[in-house]
Amino acid sequence: MNREINVAILTMEGTNNEEEAYLSFRFSGTSPEIVHLKKLENRDKKLSNYDILFFPGGFSAGDYVRAGAVMAARLKSSLMKDLEEFVESGKPVMGSCNGFQVLVELGLIPNVNGDYALEAALAPNISNRFEARTVYLKVDKGNCLFLREFEDNEIIKLPIAHSEGRFVPKDKEILDKIIKSRMNVISYVDSRGRQAKYPWNPNGSERNIAGVCNKRGNVLGVMPHPERVFYRYTESDWTRENSKTGMGNPFFRGAVQFLREKY
């Protein structure tokens, strides 16, 4: 793809990570746009005009009912077909934090059975508190296009900030399929890269799941926030480390590379 890459960053009242998502995309060489859900609902804007769709974090509609529930319900009632088409065209779709919650509520993640039914939920953290800190994560990238710039099994650190991040699959069958298809691409680990309990697993997620990619590899949902550590200077321990770029940077680079090669 030689033309501009158009990114839609979806927003409504309460989503509040659109700024850092916007900047991360802009500094990755794309043309991002913050799009209010209203404009899609009333057909002022069309999803199909974008190359990447990003669901930012925050508290859409206050997260009052359940994280992501209101935004997902609105999207489902007016835009589900467009969303399915977007996903099926193979274009990259990503959601972080509240965005992940919305993707799960929409049935776009994990979607192991391919019918966009609800197969999982993000329940309240086992600690029953909001948790804001940096966590260690292991990347098992599989075919996920957002993760292609990482080494396999690479240990990374990203910030989290959520109170409903406990990944719960509908049943064992769904969980097995997720694992078998290597869709659990990002997991919480301890400082030595081992699966471990709280506090390393900050929310009590099943199998320490922090991020899930769909089978095709183009839809990624993650609880941590790659868009907040685009540069190394916003990593919480950057004064002790000598990394070159922020650990969130490769997510965006990956998506851009993918589009440039594929289209």
Binding site: A61, G62, V70, A73, R74
Partner: protein, 75 residues
């Protein structure tokens, strides 16, 4: 065994953002027949012994803030 249901809501005089946000969402989903939504919390508490009075103590000591909340205990 005693089973209590304790419902904690905001007093009518206090603005309920959660209820408001649900109202707005339901309307946007096309339900024009929804007139009002009040949101609250509910606790199902199992006691080995006790009664509604115990429930009222829970309200007072932990579950509700009398300045903003109403607390109803059902057995």
């Amino acid at each position: 065994m005693v089973e209590l249901r304790i419902t904690v809501t905001l007093k009518k005089t206090v603005e309920d953002s959660e209820g408001g946000s649900v109202l707005k969402a339901l309307k946007l989903l096309g339900y024009d027949n929804v007139k009002d939504v009040r949101a609250g919390k509910v606790y199902f508490i199992t006691l080995s012994k006790g009664n509604r009075q115990t429930g009222r103590e829970f309200c007072e000591k932990l579950l509700a803030n009398p300045v903003i909340n109403e607390c109803v205990v059902d057995e």
